[in-house]
Symmetry: C2
Subunit: 429 residues, 2 copies
């Protein structure tokens, strides 16, 4: 993963470096957190990718639960409990699920509760031949998430109608000692725990993400090693080579100049869910006390034909991060003798080169319109680079919290609607 | 479809009505356009849903092309050429594609060009037994869209490797007289045309949307009748009962008060693609001359666990439109005796009632935080209501263009990156 920002931002190199330098003490604090390798600090999620005990625990349960004929891994969780898993699964497999009807296991995500989704899921379960074809992973830090428990209750009742007892095909992931943990012990349900200090949006590299990803054949060792390498770069005081600190400083400085929308523009459609993971990370970490930056996700070139007009011709209120990769996984080339021949320029062109021309064309257009942007260049869409991206973004958000003077680890306002909702549910009986 | 706004906006009833009244002449103009039933005015897309010739043309070709064993309808198009079709397909079928592996036909969308997608699509085509199992609809107003032509050239070469000649399994949709139209005549490819004056983002109810939707079993008659009924309401000068004029006035007035982000918050996950359709409609119609509102799409309750913290606790820069439906399609109820029982409040509750409690809880939280919102309430997620929503939003955007003093029918800045991209492609040879 490379990070580029020179000559494309609205602020000077000097401003960026000076701003970044103001967090020297915090960089040292992060280094201390890594040295301790424990889970006591708010930032301790950065110790997950080098936690060998965690890897061992996940791999053992993965071997125990993964059956040869597994068709569906159902992840029941919302927000931090599924966005990271979905980001990685979709990037590597999920985006092609419809095109690969015979590749299994497939991951099904139940986040919000929806009657039509549950109805169709019941029909799907009826078509399965054996309980070994399905595995359920219910994930909730507290165990008290309304959506997750609604989906889990309904799903387990469908399962039991078809196959009888479901306990052996369910795994819980929750905080150690939570009510959900106690219930699991009572019902003899296999359980993975995560440290209390690791919040949902920082939990993708805990058992929350590693277990379902591992069951679906994703190389979690490479995911972790990419994250470890990136962590060590992002807690280093060598500012010019620390992408997390640099991009946090750049985002902060642009928000001071009324660029209060942060648009992550992925020129790789399989990374849309990765964008949605980042959207939570930034939204919950920084959006508080009346402060914050609004994160947006765009897909290139799709959204150039949608909101591109607004970006290039509308209000100058955005900082853009272009994300693209340099090595395609498959070589596909337009024929030399085209059947239709309506666009001469694509003749005999590799598809990846057309994509790259659009990226470069877009950058030139942004430059000419004086629209600020930075770039993240991935070598390829693979576990190692994705792990690096995840870790980079999580540490960036810790720095950004410091710049804004807010706590990057709480989300006090999420309770507001929950309280009202529970009140309505209880009153409505 | 109902529209609610009273006591939840930041502006007074008087301001809204006065602002709306300023467009009296334009309302009369729209009425004239409807009376003429022709395609000469910029606004003439509003005549599509009552165009009987169009319906007849689409239905005849649909009958001709739809085979009994059709498995995949591949829509090759980007921006206005696929977003509306995807909005309706996903709302009614596509969101459940993974849960219904044996329901056919399924729609596959090729918008941007991606080597991995094309690679997997080739593998899928190899598994098909007959060319009757696949139908390709390539859509481009000009016929010169780089992404669409790249995908079409590659896809047709895959098809021909497997089945030989592809002409009889391809349909073109394009402007009458375009290069693509000429090529179709030359190759004897069935072609549907759309009026030149109907721009991509206003074309969902033309052959662009109607043909692929009809082939996939969507009731386009109901889609159209919902649109006709809504059109007649939205070109009526009875302001208080004209949701398009009211909500355009409300959006405009809030943008004057620095609420420059318009967040459409759908409490129905199958409507996310409908949100993306609206995102183009607003982005391209209003985002120009340095003016505009940034459209955002959120999904409830999913995004309450993601960007909800930012919305409730961050900068007050958004106007929110809540969209939800009152009649679920399937009744699913949480058991009276729950297996896990970790959230007592959901016991014996219909899932739809839990969703509704979250909607109401969220509205109360917004109200307490003094965050402005309006509401669109759909009776159910079905063709008639979706047609009404589409037509309402398209006419809203025409009014909004007038309020902002911009041309709601052009998109001059989209050319900027295209010019640069073609330059790079040609130079790079």
């Amino acid at each position: 993963m490379q990070f580029h920002y020179q000559n494309t931002a609205l602020v000077s190199e000097q401003e960026i470096v000076t701003t970044a330098q103001s967090l020297q003490d915090y960089v040292l604090h992060l280094q201390d957190v890594v040295k301790q390798q424990s889970y006591t600090a708010d930032e301790s999620s950065i110790n997950l990718p080098s936690d060998e005990e965690l890897l061992d625990m996940v791999q053992k349960l993965s071997v125990k639960k993964k059956t040869d004929n597994l068709k569906y891994m159902v992840v029941v969780g919302i927000g931090g409990s599924n966005l990271g898993t979905k980001a990685i699964y979709d990037a590597l497999f999920g985006y092609y699920d419809l095109l690969e009807p015979n590749r299994f296991p497939k991951m099904i995500f139940l986040d919000t509760q929806d009657d039509a989704v549950l109805h169709h899921l019941q029909s799907l379960i009826k078509t399965l031949n054996s309980k070994d074809e399905i595995l359920i992973n219910a994930i909730s830090k507290s165990g008290g998430t309304t959506e997750t428990m609604t989906n889990l209750e309904v799903l387990s009742s469908f399962f039991e109608k078809r196959f009888g007892s479901s306990e052996d095909r369910i795994v819980f992931t929750t905080d150690k000692g939570s009510k959900m943990h106690q219930k699991a012990l009572e019902l003899k349900i296999d359980t993975l725990t995560l440290p209390v200090k690791v919040g949902g949006r920082y939990s993708v590299l805990s058992a929350v993400g590693l277990f379902p990803l591992s069951v679906c054949g994703i190389d979690i060792t490479n995911l972790r090693s990419g994250a470890v390498k990136m962590r060590d770069i992002c807690v280093n005081y060598d500012i010019k080579n620390n992408p997390a600190l640099l991009s946090a400083a750049i985002s902060f400085l642009h928000s001071q100049k009324k660029r209060n929308i942060n648009n992550h523009f992925f020129f790789a459609p399989q990374l849309e869910s990765l964008g949605k993971w980042y959207r939570q990370l930034m939204g919950e970490s920084i959006g508080k006390e009346g402060k914050g930056i609004t994160p947006m996700v765009s897909i290139g070139s799709t959204d150039l034909h949608s909101v591109g007009q607004l970006y290039l011709g509308g209000p100058k209120d955005k900082l853009t991060t272009f994300v693209y990769n340099t090595h395609p996984l498959h070589e596909v080339i337009v024929a030399n003798i085209m059947k239709f021949g309506l666009v001469e320029a694509i003749k005999n062109m590799p598809v990846s080169r057309i994509v790259r021309a659009i990226v470069e064309g877009t950058k030139i257009a942004y430059h000419k319109q004086r629209l600020p942007f930075v770039e993240i260049v991935l070598d390829r869409v693979g576990e190692r680079e994705l792990g690096a991206f995840l870790q980079y973004k999580m540490i960036e958000m810790m720095y950004l919290g410091k710049f804004f003077g807010v706590n990057a680890f709480d989300q006090p306002h999420v309770e507001l609607y929950k309280t009202e909702t529970k009140h309505i549910l209880v009153q409505g009986r």
